[in-house]
């Protein structure tokens, strides 16, 4: 299967890049990643000399499942803590040895035009494929007016992006922070400033846990803790939504997106791409399992494409964007009821507890533990489906238009009808 990717002019043999983070901190790691088969890397963020320092205690905190599955990871690591020249020399030799892979360099310098102009010249000398402006990191650097401190102010994003565009011919990717209220504003600002693409999400401000003996947030540094950036599987839903919001925004429709946030398997990657991401960047998954997961990702994407009859990435990129809409346009005439498959039911009663205690009292329980849906009460909320431990035991069945919805006593109308037309909506614009 041909997985070749072209992301705003940057070519890579597959759409899987490593995000700017510890895995791309130096030549040694990046060479291992390329040997393993990764399509590209975004080099760990460079800054001005003298280089920053990191804490000398723990940098990561985590949220685990019962079998210590890593669900979320939090970090307080800063940008590279090595001299600029060391990084530049390594980038140059790696790119020379791997001309077919994408090497993009992440940057974070103060909000002064000369600082950006100066460093961009040095990046160009490495013959890297492009730059990514780190307006995303929510910890440490933001206190110094960089990272998410820039990403949270659309005017700053536009200003710095414009400086960068004026100073270099390289493709410019703007990395966005999710620590804002509406992701479309920073994306539009990047677009206004001339960015070739955006990448998102960077990490979410977070405290993963509190030590209940020391009363200190984790990870603890000498009895104190600070918020870090949260990533890993737990943040994927947040990232998917933000990617989709930008993809369907008329003001940024043509802006390429590099999808980031909890991508762990080929399926996650495909989901991001159907919502408009042209490629993806991975970090926590390789920090958990190592670089070898690329084999599963490329094989999985290939076999899925094969099963769908796709021959190139373009055939499915953005395929789901048209199906993301606003609440007000959802079809209110789509009426469903929960259905419990009694052959599959194991009689745990979780659907009953959930519905009875927290929802609509729409499930009955008999003395011999038979659980049934009460159509007169069921609002089709889907909670029973979600809490049921058995696959496909509870499903939603559509009530055919023309039949009566026992909850409302009304006939289910044929066709499409949404809130904008609903009589209860004072702003309704009823269909003529």
């Amino acid at each position: 299967m041909n997985l070749a990717s072209d992301f705003c002019g940057i070519k890579s043999p597959n759409p899987f890049w490593l995000a700017s983070a510890p895995p791309t901190d130096k030549e040694y790691n990046v060479r291992r990643a390329f040997k393993a088969g990764w399509g590209g890397v975004v080099w760990k963020t460079l800054g001005l000399d003298p280089h920053i320092v990191n804490v000398n205690g723990p940098r990561y905190g985590a949220v685990w499942g019962a079998d210590r599955q890593l669900i979320g990871l939090n970090n307080i690591e800063l940008i590279t803590d090595r001299p600029l020249a060391t990084n530049l020399a390594e980038i140059k030799t790696v790119k020379r040895d791997y001309p077919d892979r994408a090497v993009v360099v992440s940057l974070m310098v103060p909000c002064e035009e000369c600082a950006w102009t100066d460093i961009l010249g040095q990046i160009e000398d490495t013959e890297a494929d492009g730059v990514e402006l780190n307006f995303g990191c929510p910890h440490g650097m933001s206190e110094r007016g960089m990272g998410s401190a820039v990403g949270q102010v659309p005017e700053y994003i536009e200003m710095v992006t414009r400086w960068v565009r004026n100073a270099t011919r390289m493709p410019v990717i703007v990395k966005l922070t999710p620590n804002i209220t509406d992701i479309r504003y920073p994306a539009r600002a990047a677009c206004q400033g001339g960015a070739h693409a955006v990448s998102l999400i960077n990490t979410l401000s977070s405290i993963t846990s509190v030590d209940l003996d020391d009363f200190c947030p984790e990870p603890a540094i000498d009895g104190k803790g600070t918020h870090g950036g949260y990533c890993g599987p737990a943040v994927k839903p947040i990232a998917l939504n933000m990617v989709a919001e930008i993809a369907r925004d008329a003001k940024t429709t043509d802006l390429p997106i590099s999808g980031i946030g909890g991508i762990t398997t080929w399926r996650d990657a495909v989901e991001f791409m159907t919502l408009g991401a042209q490629n993806v960047q991975v970090c926590t998954a390789v920090m958990t399992f190592g670089f070898k997961i690329i084999d599963e990702m490329t094989a999985g994407m290939s076999s899925w494409m094969n099963s769908k009859g796709f021959t190139s990435l373009d055939e499915f990129i953005g395929r789901a964007v048209g199906n993301v809409t606003d609440w007000q346009y959802l079809n209110l005439n789509f009426v469903t009821k929960a259905r419990i498959n009694q052959d599959l039911c194991i009689k745990c009663g979780r659907c009953f507890a959930a519905c009875e205690d927290t929802s609509h009292q729409a499930i009955s329980m008999s003395a011999d533990r038979v659980f049934d849906v009460i159509d007169e009460e069921c609002v089709a909320c889907n909670l029973c489906v979600n809490v049921c431990p058995v696959d496909d035991c509870i499903t939603m069945e559509r009530i055919t238009p023309g039949q009566i919805d026992l909850r409302t006593g009304a006939v289910v109308p044929d066709g499409y009808g949404n809130w904008t037309q609903h009589p209860n909506n004072p702003m309704a614009n009823p269909a003529a």
Binding site: G65, A66, D67, R68, I346, K347, C348, G349, R350, F352, A353, M365, R369, P389, V390
Partner: protein, 437 residues
């Protein structure tokens, strides 16, 4: 002829290995993963399947949330011998049989092992976790220090009563101490658990103090505010077979007791060809242990269909796995030999490929009878039912101020956990009854 029933048939190391713990305990991580499998069912079926009604989903959730001691207390609140029950309960036919994951996928949550994990944490604590209510000055006599008597005594002590236990044997514990396979309760657990249980205070334990005569009971009734009888079944069913008196034909319970009480397992004597007669847990425990101390061939003879055996299929598989042969529809009719047993005559029905009953002779130098135990006529005129003490409600006998529980009451299912429930409930009833006077 030499006596082939003798000790030392296996090297000591082999015996030690044979009697290592049947189910090793879960470590913290294993417990967390297993606890994560519990669905926290609504009105959970496992709770109703437990004779002591332990709130199983709650204690498992407490393990999940990292509070195993709280989980242990949830268990012990309902079943003060929860540690022992975690080891010996036939969970495959109680809570785990009703676990929805057993129904769904044939792999229940390992409730027994989780229960052990939690109760072990509590028993590791320095102090006994329960406190006594202020003493009300009432005194209660408990006859028998088995599971029923101990559970009753502990609950009464909690309620502020002063309890005196009279145990006829040298050690407390009843069948927990004398009658259950050693590999289910290693490292003198039964003994340690009783020491822990008595840590509540207010319980005086007298061992080697049988309560036998009418006068004994009368004295208890007049000296104490209430009496609880939990003396189990001390008699044995008789077997209508010739040659019962031959040497090396003994009761399985006595054999198990020798194993349990042996300081050194290589001192336990066993035959080369052991025949166990019976179909319950005692038969399995005796058969498996005779194999483990060095018998060459061990056969269980059960007179009915295999499905009717009281030992669960899990227990039957355990026996088969240890090399015990189970023959159903086989009735021992006579033991033969001069002085010592040498053969058993067996009538077999429904043998595949043969139509009528057949009589076979089996080589047997050691016969263990596990055909059930009976109530020794109690030294007081109590109403009985099916040969056991008849009770109403929470263990009320036909006489005022006398309660009973455990194996000695009808109908009885011979389970430790049932005895605990009956002892506990009788204690609550005694307390309520004394308070209302």
């Amino acid at each position: 002829m030499v006596n082939t029933v003798r000790a030392g048939k296996l090297p000591e190391e082999q015996i030690a290995l044979n009697f290592s713990e049947l189910h090793p305990p879960l470590d913290e991580r294993q417990a967390a993963v297993e606890a994560g499998r519990c669905y926290f069912c609504y009105d959970a079926p496992c709770i109703s399947a437990c004779p002591t009604s332990i709130d199983i989903p709650l204690f498992i959730r407490q393990i999940s949330s990292g509070t195993p001691e709280a989980a242990g207390l949830t268990i012990l609140d309902s079943n003060i011998l929860g540690g022992f029950c975690a080891r010996v309960c036939p969970t495959e036919s109680l809570c785990e049989e009703k676990c929805v994951r057993e129904v769904a996928e044939g792999k229940p949550v390992e409730i027994g092992l989780l229960q052990r994990f939690a109760t072990d944490r509590v028993m590791e604590l320095e102090d006994h976790p329960y406190e006594r209510e202020a003493s009300g000055g009432r005194r209660i006599a408990v006859v028998g220090a088995g599971p029923a008597g101990l559970a009753c005594a502990h609950r009464l002590a909690m309620k502020g009563h002063d309890v005196v236990i009279f145990e006829q044997r040298h050690k407390p514990g009843g069948l927990n101490e004398y009658g259950i396979a050693a590999y289910k309760t290693v490292n003198s657990f039964a003994e340690r658990e009783i020491r822990w249980l008595l840590g509540i205070g207010g319980i005086k334990l007298h061992t080697d103090r049988p309560v036998r005569s009418v006068e004994d009971i009368a004295r208890l009734r007049s000296n104490y505010d209430a009496v609880f009888l939990g003396f189990g079944l001390a008699g044995f069913n008789s077997l209508a077979a010739d040659g019962r008196q031959l040497e090396n034909v003994e009761y399985a319970v006595e054999f198990i007791e020798q194993v349990r009480q042996a300081d050194d397992l290589s001192d336990v004597s066993v035959g080369n060809d052991v025949v166990v007669i019976g179909g319950g847990m005692t038969a399995i425990d005796a058969a498996v242990q005779s194999k483990l101390v060095g018998a060459d061939n061990v056969t269980i003879l059960y007179r009915g269909d295999r499905e009717r055996m009281k030992a669960s299929s899990y227990e039957q598989d355990l026996a088969a796995h240890r090399g015990v042969k189970i023959v159903a529809n086989a009735q021992a009719v006579a033991f033969e030999g001069d002085e010592r047993v040498q053969e058993v005559s067996v009538t077999r029905r429904s043998v595949a490929g043969r139509e009528d009953c057949v009589v076979e002779r089996m080589v047997a130098d050691h016969v263990l009878l596990a055909i059930g135990q009976t109530l020794v006529e109690p030294p007081v005129n109590l109403a009985t039912e099916h040969g056991k003490i008849a009770v109403q409600g929470a263990g009320r006998t036909s006489l005022d101020n006398i309660w009973a529980g455990g194996d000695c009451v009808a109908p009885g299912d011979d389970l430790t956990v049932t005895a605990v429930a009956q002892g506990r409930d009788a204690a609550e009833d005694i307390h309520a009854s004394l308070c209302s006077r």
